[in-house]
Symmetry: C2
Subunit: 312 residues, 2 copies
């Protein structure tokens, strides 16, 4: 029988830090229900414009956790299944001076809020509506011992990966880098494009349920299977290249995909590389997070053998 | 009545060069039927392995053209509609030492050929088949006067853009940079992923039909509307950022998309930037072409006003 847990939404923290006391310990296979605070909760309110808000970047991200996974050991993989996600009634998006990929073009701050009570889309103008695809912008584990790390840049343990493919039905694979994994999540998004170019998504409160499962395999980079969204012909297995340079991110993600194809599909490294060139998709997940960018190499499951798809 | 023209497949050239004599002059609205030679035609043969081939990179690309468009003036836009594409009976893919994004991981050359007589997919192994999505890897116009440019790096006039979204049903928009445009195409591909990471696609002969139409608008970068493929919820309007750095490519493509949204959708620049962040998709089209990479910012037409979609 699946054990279920509910997380207190007020139990938040603001750093990746393996010395934090877990707020919960779960067994492999357990489900945890979250109620995530929007980024900037208490700082931005519905109807605000930029001049109404004093941003406090030290507390803008509200990470829920850490959740300890009993028995998780360094070198294993934590599978995080995204079971269900439901965004809240409102959200916001902003241009923040000095951030985003075009800081020189947009030196002036700008903020707008959205009414999301109409559940399936956000209205930008009278004739532009954006379909919503909620996901958690941040999911991860602390990467190193004894360090208190900013929540903004993503890292080997995931974190602020801003991966829009992690909608309901997706699975995220994280390397366990500290004993008991110590998973946290936050930065909920009602929708985001590939890139998150202006530095914010549609930031919105989110209720969600995750199932945690330990796997014995070792992975070199975080990976995922994309969920229900508007993507090509069903889900894909994808590897993430998190690096301060997009080309290096491309290399990391492609290498990690080749490893997976060689292990799982009994391909030679050469044929795996060619398969990446012919059918893989390099996507820029985010290019705005505190100097660490995230590139995905995605391989559609539809072209892979059944036995591999079952294991993915 | 549409005028139709057939191009002689043996009329090829190997440089972007505005001094070449056009092989054909067409009027705006005309259709041209092509029969494109595979890259490396006469160098690679069905069944070859790497040691069977002597690559001659000076003549590996066979560009068909140039086609002059009567009345085309610098500052206009050439719309190239991809009407139909049919790949040939075989193709090849290779790892070429020193090229691709992982040259240190794959220092040894490797080549394989594919039987494409089974029309809809290419068999990589007994249990991996890749669905085919043919397109022309190279379509473009010479960017500058009096220069003879290599066919490998893409440029402001397009060229070797390796854009897998230019399947049948797509439209490519190129800036007219020299009088009469002087369009050429080649580098036919039966299928390619986003990135073309190993440096080759599935290179294959291709028959195709293009319609050329002049538009009075001026565009800052090449752009396109994606065609029939396995992409999200219908076609997208996309801008291309061609640059020697992926981040710079992201910036160019996003700026060009913001310009288009501001002009066409009566959005403020701020809301256009936010729309790119919430619903745009940054995709790496190619990251292997002689030091010039190609990034697309794609906006699904489904979320844009009808009047804009009609014009796109």
């Amino acid at each position: 029988m699946t054990r279920e847990h509910f997380v207190d939404p007020t139990m938040i923290h603001h750093f990746w830090d393996d010395s934090l006391d877990p707020i919960l310990e779960v067994e492999s296979g357990d489900v945890v229900h979250y109620d995530l605070l929007v980024a900037g909760d208490g700082q931005v309110k519905p109807g605000d414009t930029y001049s109404d808000v004093s941003f406090d970047f030290d507390t803008i991200y509200n990470l829920s956790g850490p959740v300890a996974v009993a028995g998780a050991e360094v070198g294993q993989t934590l599978c995080v299944e995204v079971l269900e996600l439901q965004h809240g009634d409102w959200g916001w998006s902003a241009i923040l001076p000095g951030m985003g990929i075009l800081p020189d073009d947009f030196p002036v701050g700008y903020l707008r809020t959205f009414d999301l009570r109409r559940r399936d889309s956000a209205q930008l103008t009278n004739d532009i509506e954006i379909p919503l695809r909620p996901f958690m912008g941040t999911m991860g584990v602390p990467p190193r011992a004894g360090e208190k790390l900013s929540p903004f840049p993503p890292h080997l343990g995931g974190g602020n990966i801003d991966n829009r493919y992690l909608t309901a039905g997706s699975r995220l694979y994280l390397p366990v880098l500290r004993p008991r994994a110590l998973f946290s999540c936050g930065d909920p998004h009602a929708v985001q494009g590939d890139g998150e170019v202006c530095v914010t998504a549609l930031e919105a409160p989110l209720q969600g349920s995750l199932r945690f499962t330990l796997q014995p395999r070792r992975i070199a980079t975080p990976a995922f299977v994309s969920g229900r969204n508007d993507e090509p012909a069903g889900p894909a297995y994808c590897t993430m290249g998190i690096a301060p340079d997009l080309m290096e991110g491309c290399r990391l993600a492609t290498r990690s995909m080749i490893d997976w194809l060689v292990d799982g599909c009994a391909l030679s490294p050469e044929d795996a590389y060619i398969l990446c060139s012919l059918a893989g998709r390099l996507r820029i997940l985010e290019v705005v997070d505190a100097g660490m960018w995230n590139v995905a190499m995605c391989m559609p499951l539809a072209i892979l053998p059944e036995s591999v798809v079952r294991e993915a």
